[in-house]
């Protein structure tokens, strides 16, 4: 017997487009990003997005171990997406599983085009994404945090990568699906873009959409990503502004 039984809400979205958490279709859950919170990592970030709490840490460029993985002309990029055993309603067996191995791969491929790997030949850049609390949309939250951690580590990049999920519930295309919509919604489409070129580096779709709905979802996703990109820039600059203000205040 499972200790925790999930119940499907009777109505996922009302006729006038009010969702189970009270949001409108185009509204995002509250997001907060913080940069540089881990001392021992070369770069780090923490993102809280709805009920998600996710840490990202970057180590490198550093020496490659084991040695046979060395790429002579560019940096190796390794990514590990991992969920804490306590991050889900039911305890998750620790360690990598099918899902987290796949997410590690898609997140790596979403971030890699942003990195100037050719600037760091023969080294490795390790990216760790630790989900402490999960609440739908962890992969896109992880991409946002990891991109901030890379910039915080002082790694040469073409731009930041911002990510957001969109979905479909009934006839509505919705921004940033919540847990209920993730479980019982009709379609879910996480996407990531390399800014400011707005090149798509991650696009997955689970569930059917008409061409019209897909186009609407893509547009909604792009607008949401633009908004998240502004938040990322603000998060990266904030620590320096705080220091500047305190120094100027004292002097």
């Amino acid at each position: 017997m499972p200790l925790y039984v999930e119940k499907k809400p009777e109505v996922l979205i009302t006729e006038d487009g009010v969702r189970t958490d009270g949001r409108k279709p185009y509204e995002m859950r509250p997001v907060r990003m913080t940069v540089g919170i881990l001392d021992k990592a070369d770069g780090s970030a923490f993102i809280e997005w709805g009920g998600n709490k996710i840490l990202a840490a970057v180590f490198g460029p550093r020496e490659v171990h084991p040695k046979h993985l060395v790429l002579p002309d560019k940096a190796l990029v390794r990514t590990r997406y991992n969920m804490a055993p306590f991050s889900t309603p039911e305890r998750k067996r620790p360690g990598p599983d099918r899902r987290s191995v796949e997410l590690s791969k898609v997140i790596r491929e979403a971030l890699k085009p942003a990195i100037f790997v050719e600037n760091y030949p023969g080294s490795v850049i390790d990216i760790f994404i630790e989900v402490l609390r999960s609440d739908a949309g962890t992969r896109v939250a992880g991409v946002n945090a990891a991109s901030l951690a890379l910039a915080n580590a002082g790694i040469a990049m073409r731009g930041l990568v911002a990510a957001c999920a969109v979905g479909r519930v009934g006839d509505f295309v919705v921004c940033d699906p919540n847990h209920d919509e993730d479980m019982w919604g009709d379609a879910d489409m996480p996407m990531a873009m390399l800014m400011e070129a707005e090149e798509i580096t991650l696009l997955q779709t689970d569930g059917p959409m008409t061409e019209e709905q897909f186009r609407e979802a893509l547009k909604l996703g792009r607008n949401s990503i633009r908004f998240l990109y502004e938040m990322q820039k603000e998060a990266l600059k904030r620590p320096y502004q705080v220091v500047e203000r305190s120094v100027r205040g004292v002097v």
Partner: protein, 230 residues
């Protein structure tokens, strides 16, 4: 293409991918030109626009060796004919031990090194990836005896030295210490007492956190005066 324009303030904090300028500018360090001709930042740092050159002064990042750099290394392995040196970088330094004829030209006593010894070395050759050749075969290079090793972020080394060594002079005079700054962010210090060493350590942390705010030298100078007066 539209005419030349600068899109940021000088010394402004910029993020990777942020547009800095458009048009006829030279590319300085840590910037790139995109397909549409806009010059963008590669790293998180401070925009630096001097005449017709656009650069970014990075605020963090690993130490990437350059030929001619002076680094402070720690011997991590000695195997046969080579000494492997940790220089706090993605790349390990290698010092070949001279043999045969070569031993006549160099001071072989310098090569009498043990695991864990701290050395001052110069980057002799670096091919950008695997082979990083160091040398200690010069006046002033070799094993560092006594003293302490402090560390700063490699990106902040130019701030610790300052324009025409201004910051380093302040640090040396105020703490009455011998200080050697390696390009890799390791700093060797011999202080008259622990008090000066601790004050120096605090001053280095201050340089690290406040490097992007102008007037740093004056602040560090008055900070050290305050720390060391009683």
């Amino acid at each position: 293409m539209s005419e030349s324009a600068i899109l940021v303030k000088n010394r402004e904090v910029v993020v990777p991918g942020q547009p800095l300028a458009r048009g006829r500018f030279k590319l300085g360090r840590d910037v790139f030109r995109d397909e549409s001709g806009i010059i963008r930042a590669k790293k998180l740092g401070l925009a630096d626009i001097k005449e017709d050159t656009v650069s970014v002064v990075p605020l963090s990042g690993a130490y990437i060796p350059k030929e001619g750099d002076i680094v402070i290394g720690i011997i991590s392995r000695i195997s046969g004919s080579t000494i492997i040196v940790d220089i706090r970088s993605p790349y390990q330094g290698v010092i070949p031990i001279p043999r045969g004829r070569a031993t006549e030209r160099v001071d072989m006593r310098k090569y009498n090194l043990k695991l864990g010894d701290v050395i001052l070395a110069k980057v002799k050759a670096f091919d950008g990836s695997s082979s990083l050749l160091l040398t200690i075969d010069m006046e002033g290079l070799g094993k560092l005896e006594g003293g302490y090793i402090l560390e700063v972020e490699p990106a902040k080394v130019p701030r610790v030295i300052g324009k025409r060594q201004s910051m380093l002079t302040i640090l040396k005079e105020k703490t009455r210490s011998d200080i050697i700054v390696g390009n890799n962010g390791r700093i060797w210090v011999r202080s008259p007492s622990l008090r000066e060493l601790l004050a120096l350590e605090k001053a280095l942390r201050k340089i690290e956190t406040e490097s992007h705010v102008s007037g740093l030298s004056d602040r560090v100078s008055s900070f050290l005066t305050q720390e060391l007066s009683d």
